[in-house]
Structure formats: C-alpha cells, structure tokens
C-alpha cells in the first residue's frame, strides 16, 4: 500500500515537473517574440562580406607560372591548368586555367599556397546558375572582379555583427561614419608606427 502511494506521489511529482518544464519553454519562446528579427531581407538587403570572406576565387592569368601547386594542395585536385612547354623561352606557357565552382569547397588552400599570388578569394557568393556546367569558370570568368554590395543602388548593404559600433545590435539606419568597436587595422598600424618612432630615438641614445 505504501509502495503504491509512493508510486502515485512520484508520478504526480513527475507530472508537475513536466508541466513546469513546458512552462519554462513557453516563457523562452514568449520572450523571443519581443526580440527584433535578425533577418536580412536578401534581394533588397545584403550583408557586406567580411574582408576574410572566402567567396568565388579570382585568378590573374598573367601572374600564373603554371607551377600546379594549386592543383596539388587542392583536396580534390580541382583546378585545371593547361600549359605547354615553350622551348625557345624555356618556360611553361599557360594556355587555359579553370576551376569548377560546382565542386569547389572554397577552402582557400590554392590561394594560400600560390607562389605568385595570382589566386585570391573575392566576396562574391551569388553563384547560382541554370546549368551546373555554367559554374565551371574559365580563366576569363575567373578574371572578372566581383560586384561590390555597397555600390549596388538596388541594395541596402548591412554590416555584419562584428562590424557594428559597440552596443549596437541592429545594422539598420546606422549614423554615417559609425565605426565598429575596437581599433581598425590601419589605426593599429599607425599606433605601431608611432611607438616605433617614439622608441627609435631612445635606441639611438642607448
């Protein structure tokens, strides 16, 4: 009898606990309703990609020495480097270069290892096409510069969270010239220069 009563009591306790947890969950979702949406309304608004954004790869034909390092560091040997040995010049001559962005995972290894810096990552991410073969970019397509989000009159550019002023959570309607929290890279550089300049005379004395 006592055991049965204990069972009933435990069951009732568990039921109340379950109800309590559901109540807590409801309060969480209810609280979320008063928060501002974080939506970027895409075709009309676009986020400005950060400077380290790994988007579509840009390629400079004239800088390339056809060394094929990009192919070797690529996880799937994706870049196609078509070259021919130019006997009189004793140099490899590049004929075609292509990367298929339908397959590329944008890891950036090729960019990292390119000895002549002829590869670089852009901020372009709108790589949609009606046919997957259209994503196979040849050296001409790879040489095109990306459209800047900030220069498109149809688009409201929005800053990413890390680029907002201190304490601001909403990228809409920022005052002009509002700077992000912390120092900008060029400010840090300037500071280092100044420190160096301040330190230099003392070194001379010593």
């Amino acid at each position: 009898m006592l055991k049965f009563l204990k069972q009933v009591g435990d069951y009732a306790k568990e039921s109340f606990q379950a109800a309590k947890y559901i109540g807590q969950g409801l309060s969480v979702t209810f609280d979320h309703m008063r928060r501002r949406p974080v939506t970027v309304q895409y075709p009309y608004e676009k986020v400005i990609p950060s400077e380290r954004y790994r988007g579509r790869i840009h390629f400079e034909f004239d800088k390339c020495i056809a060394c094929e390092v990009c192919v070797r560091v690529c996880p799937i040997n994706l870049p196609v480097v078509d070259w021919e040995f130019n006997k009189p010049q004793k140099k490899k001559q590049l004929k075609h270069y292509s990367i298929d962005f339908g397959v590329c995972i944008f890891c950036g290894n090729c960019v990292e290892y390119c000895p002549t810096n002829c590869l670089s990552m852009t901020e372009e991410y709108e790589l949609s096409a009606y046919d997957r073969h259209e994503l196979n970019y040849d050296n001409v397509a790879l040489g095109r510069l990306p459209e800047k989000v900030t220069l498109d009159p149809m688009v409201t550019p929005l800053r990413e969270f890390a680029y907002l002023p201190k304490g601001v959570l909403d990228p809409h309607d920022l005052p002009k010239g509002a700077q992000r929290a912390g120092k900008r890279p060029e400010e840090i550089l300037e500071e280092i220069e100044r420190e160096k300049a301040a330190a230099a005379p003392s070194e001379d004395e010593g």
Partner: protein, 372 residues
C-alpha cells in the same frame, strides 16, 4: 437573465409584416445564419493561418509574411489562391473515389460543428439540446476520413499517417468527452447556451476554469491531440512520414485538409472558451456594469453594445487560445507514438474519470457552487 437581441425573431417578424407567410419567412431566414457561419469559419481560419505564420516568425526572430498586403495579412488568401490553381492529381494506383471523398469527410463535420458555437444569447445557428454531444460525435467522423484518404493514397507514409490519426483520435476522444461531461454535469444541459449561462452569474469568478481546473487541462491536451497540433502532430510528422495522410494530395484537396485542420483548431478554441472561459460573458457581468452606470440593460443601444461585447469576448478568448496553441507548437517537441498513447490511456483517461467522479461528488455535496 435578459434574452438580448433576437435577430431571428425580428427578421421573421419583419418579413411577416411585409406580407410574407410565416413558414416562408422562416425558410427565407434559414440560410442566412448558415452562410454567415461559413464565412465566419473561413475568415477565422484566414486569421488563424496569418497568426500562425506571424507568431512562428516572431518566435524564431524572423519577419514572416510581409509583402502580401499590410503586414502580410493577405498571405493566407494568396496561399489559398495558389492551391486553387494547382493541378489536381490523383495518383495512378490510388482509389479515386475514396481519395476524393476523404478530404470532404474530414472537412464537413468540422464545419457542421459550427452549428452549436454561440457568440451570444441568440447569436447561434441553432441552440441544440444536444449541442456538446453533437460536437463530440461529429469530431469522431473526422478520423474515418483521415483513414480513408490515407488508405486510398496507396502510399506507405499516407497509410501510416492515416492509421496514426485514427489511433490518436480514438484515444483522445474519451478523455475529451469525459472532461466535457464534467462541465455538462455542472450545467445540467448539453446545450452550449445553457453551459455559458450557467457560468455567467459572477463574472470571471463564475467561469468553469475555476471549478474545473483539471478538466480544463485535460480538455486542452485532448483538443490539441484532436486537432493534431504540434506536441501531438504524429499523423503528419514531416520528419518521419513526409506529410502523413496528406502526402499524395495537391491542389484543392490538400487545401481542404489544410483548411480543415485550422477550422478544427479555431473550433476547439471556440468551444474551449465556451466550456471553460464563460463564452461571451465579460469578466464583469455586463448587466452589473449597466446597473452601475445607471442604464437599463433593456435599452436597444445597450443591447447592441452587449451583443458586440459578447462577440468580441468570444473572439478574444478564442484567439488567445489559438495563440497559446501556436506558441506551444514552437515550444514543445513531438511525442513518440507510444508516449502519445501512454499519455492518453494511462494518464488523461484515469485523471478525467477521477475528475468526473469528484465533480459528481462535489455537485452532491455543494449544489450551490457546482450547479446542483
């Protein structure tokens, strides 16, 4: 108790005065409340769909529909139009008759149940003596339609969805009926009007929610299960069953299911507010308010005001409950089928039975408070 405005009586009287024989006047009046109720049900669904999308978006910190009309209020209409223009496909190996009849069997009883939803003393299509019973019996026709369409689709997901819907409806009908029975026992009537009138005496303190707190929770859980809302949306669990019994449906037939589920949600909320939240009664009785202000409740403008307050109160209570259902949808995870049946048979059923017995005992012991 004032009877309030009697639209039916005055309309028929008007027609009779115009020289129409009384029986014909009655026949002329008949379709009006029915058509009005259809419109009310459909508009209620449009609002519920819009609310669902907006609240879901708010909970997930999104905007939700924005471009169709101000704040996206026309979005449900756009959805409906889209479904209307879609091709009506019947799968090759499906049973065309059952496949077509299924959605109709699901939707028609739900709309029929609007017969007994009161918005005021006389603002109801018919004041049936078996009102609550009619609703419960009509709501048990729905699973037949679900099973039919699930079976006729000739699709394993649809079949499992249909079977689950049937199992779920059957197991949740009983606690639902028992909790309603406790309310009926207190008001000594199955009529929804009488149920509201029995709660109307002491304003907010007279509402059944205070006398039936357990029944209130059981009813809400069972109503969510009946309408297949999220903690209990197993029949259409998209992660496991694609869309359950709706998998093979497109176009208007799918729209009927979609409409039916939202009509059912609004209907459950309406009846919930009738059974437990005092229907059209204001937190402070309107007659008392009128007495305080020194106006007679029998004045025509007071009666119109009372009626509109009543309608507003019903709608406010209903959409508050719809809001809670939507919030619950984005809060609670889906239960497993065994958990669902366990909850229904091993928890809700005994608790509902105990609630009924305790209500009966209290009714005998305190006839004043529990409607002797």
């Amino acid at each position: 108790m004032e009877s309030g405005i009697d639209l039916q009586g005055s309309a028929i009287q008007l027609l009779v005065d115009l020289g129409v024989p009384t029986p014909i006047a009655k026949v002329l009046w008949l379709p009006l409340p029915m058509a009005l109720m259809l419109v009310v049900a459909t508009v209620g669904v449009l609002i519920a769909v819009w609310l669902e999308r907006k609240i879901a978006a708010a909970v997930q910190q999104r905007y939700g529909p924005e471009y169709a009309g101000p704040l996206g209020v026309l979005q449900p209409i756009a959805d409906g139009l889209k479904l209307l223009f879609k091709e009506d496909i019947i799968p090759n190996l499906a049973d065309p008759w059952l496949f077509t009849i299924g959605p109709a069997i699901v939707v028609i009883p739900v709309f029929l149940s609007y017969l007994i939803v009161p918005f005021g003393q006389n603002l109801v299509v018919t004041d049936l003596g078996i009102g609550a019973f009619l609703w419960i019996s009509l709501s048990s026709i729905t699973p037949i339609g679900l099973l039919m369409s699930g079976y006729a689709s000739n699709n394993k997901y649809a079949l499992i969805g249909g079977l689950r819907a049937a199992a779920q409806s059957i197991s949740y009908e009983i606690p639902l009926a028992l909790s309603v029975l406790a309310v009926i026992m207190m008001s000594n009537s199955l009529s929804t009007i009488d149920i509201v009138n029995q709660q109307a005496n002491h304003g907010i303190l007279g509402w059944n929610i205070w006398r039936q707190p357990v029944g209130f929770i059981i009813f809400w859980i069972s109503a969510l299960a009946e309408t297949e809302r999220l903690p209990f949306d197993l029949p259409e669990a998209e992660e496991e069953l694609v869309a359950g019994y709706q998998t093979e449906y497109t176009g208007m037939k799918f729209a009927l299911f979609y409409l039916g589920s939202y009509v059912n949600l609004v209907l459950s909320a309406l009846l919930f507010s009738v059974f437990y939240l005092g229907g059209w009664s204001f937190p402070v009785p309107v007659d008392t308010l009128a007495n305080w202000l020194g106006v007679s409740p029998a004045l025509p403008w007071v009666q119109v005001l009372t009626a509109s307050i009543g309608i507003t109160m019903v709608l406010v209570k209903t959409y508050l409950l719809v809001f809670i259902a939507i919030l619950l949808r984005w809060t609670t995870p889906r239960v497993r089928i065994d958990q669902l049946l366990n909850l229904g048979w091993k928890f809700l059923l005994p608790v509902a039975l105990a609630n009924l017995l305790i209500t009966a005992a209290l009714k005998l012991a305190f006839p004043v408070a529990f409607g002797g």
